[in-house]
């Protein structure tokens, strides 16, 4: 197995490059998940509780984002923002695009979770004299959270996968680093495989965690 030891050598040589790329991939994912989720909760709340105008605007926003491929969002964010005078580097522009993408997904999940709760619960809460804020905080939100946590964890895995798209605009995350390494040692088969393995491990971990959360949050029957 000459080849395999040569491959291990190459990994050892490139270890810091790979680790740096992995670090960037994780920061892209984490930032876009956090920002996207915060925005997404607002989106979801507006879709459920907003007045007609707000609902219409937010619905148009989510439909537009969900109808556009993430790669197009990333490219558009990168090229358009600099044209209108907002100077963002590729990293910031990419994270912004992913966060927007994430927000539309989280928004739908939050909306679905809240709307799955039977009307009777809100009525019951009103009947015992809770204000809307109290109803939301003590009755609706905890149940909705339970509903959407598993789906939300899956969105996190989606974001890790989508982070690879930032390689197209030159963000040195794991995939772009891998391409750089391959352009030096021409071991495309081995290194794409290795990158795939790393992504698989991260996403599989998230998936298992999602299953765990699903078990934990399932309403006992």
């Amino acid at each position: 197995m000459m080849d395999f030891s040569a491959f291990l050598d190459q990994i050892w040589i490139a270890r810091f490059v790979i680790l740096k790329g992995l670090g960037i991939t994780i920061s892209i994912s984490a930032l876009s998940i956090v920002a996207g989720s915060l925005l997404g909760v607002l989106v979801g709340l507006s879709l459920v509780y907003g007045n007609r105008v707000l609902r219409l605007v937010v619905r148009a926003y989510t439909d537009f984002i969900r109808g556009t491929p993430v790669l197009v969002l990333v490219l558009a964010s990168y090229y358009v923002l600099s044209t209108i005078g907002i100077e963002l580097g590729p990293f910031q522009a990419g994270v912004l695009a992913l966060a927007i993408f994430c927000s539309s997904h989280v928004g739908e999940i939050v909306r679905g979770g809240l709307q799955a709760i039977p009307k009777g619960q809100t009525e019951a809460a009103k009947a015992i004299g809770l204000t809307f804020g109290q109803t939301f905080a003590y009755v609706l939100w905890p149940q909705a959270l339970r509903q959407f946590l598993p789906a939300w964890v899956n969105t996190a895995a989606e974001m890790v996968k989508a982070s690879t798209l930032l390689s197209v605009i030159g963000v040195a995350e794991l995939l772009l680093r891998t391409q750089e390494i391959i352009s030096r040692n021409f071991m495309s088969l081995q290194f794409y495989f290795f990158a795939g393995l790393l992504y698989f491990v991260i996403n599989y971990g998230i998936e298992r965690f999602g299953k765990y959360v699903e078990r934990k949050t399932a309403v006992p029957s």
Binding site: D63, V80, A162, L175, I182, L189, Y192, A195
Partner: protein
């Protein structure tokens, strides 16, 4: 800022965008068709009792679903030639998207298969059909009709994934948009029109799926 919207340059290249969109739709159509065949076979394997059949199918679905599609696209186009498998851009992308959609569709179909009552299989056996005949002429058609509502979002997201073909220079919509962007510098207009085309296509696809859903719904 001094940027004024001027769509003239983009309209001049609108044909290019439409050709790109046609290629995107073609890629999606062929890949989803092949993916549906893979998905159906894998879905039957997923609910098989024998673990020799079930395990590899489950591994395929888990592995593909946890990999970024861009890695698969680049792997197929740049790494497979090292193993002597040389495919053109379009062929390698269709191969990847088919395998990728196979895994996602398998999950959708599996849920559909599980919702088919056991009684139908037993009825088929009782009138003397072979297990294969039962699957082909009873279970699969019913399953398709049942899963149409959840199929819609998968199909749309697979259509959007054709944009990744731009990464290996397949001249589909995203690639054309990027080219026009660089050639004309009408940045905002180009991306508004390109994403508008994607959004419109997705809504048309969703509407078509809703019609199919209504026409083909299993009467209760």
């Amino acid at each position: 800022m001094g940027y004024t919207l001027n769509f003239a340059a983009v309209w001049r290249s609108f044909d290019q965008l439409l050709e790109g969109l046609a290629l995107s739709l073609g890629l999606a159509f062929i890949s989803i068709l092949i993916g549906a065949v893979i998905g159906l076979l894998v879905a039957f394997a997923l609910i098989a009792k024998s673990s020799w059949v079930q395990r590899p199918a489950a591994a395929y679905v888990t592995i593909i679903r946890n990999l970024p599609i861009l890695v698969l696209v680049l792997f197929a186009y740049f790494a497979l030639p090292q193993m002597g498998v040389r495919l053109g851009k379009i062929e390698s992308f269709v191969a990847v998207l088919s395998i990728y959609s196979g895994a996602y569709l398998a999950e959708v179909f599996r849920a559909g298969l599980l919702s088919i009552p056991k009684g139908l299989t037993e009825a088929g056996l009782a009138i003397g059909l072979t297990p294969l005949q039962i699957r082909v002429s009873i279970i699969a058609p019913l399953m398709f009709r049942n899963v149409l509502p959840s199929l819609s979002s998968t199909v749309i997201s697979l259509f959007k994934d054709t944009s990744l073909a731009a990464a290996i220079a397949v001249p589909e919509l995203t690639f054309e948009a990027r080219k026009i962007n660089v050639e004309t510098f009408r940045v905002i207009e180009t991306w508004i029109v390109a994403s508008g085309l994607y959004v419109a296509t997705c809504s048309v696809l969703a509407a078509l799926m809703r019609v199919a859903e209504r026409r083909l719904a299993v009467p209760r």
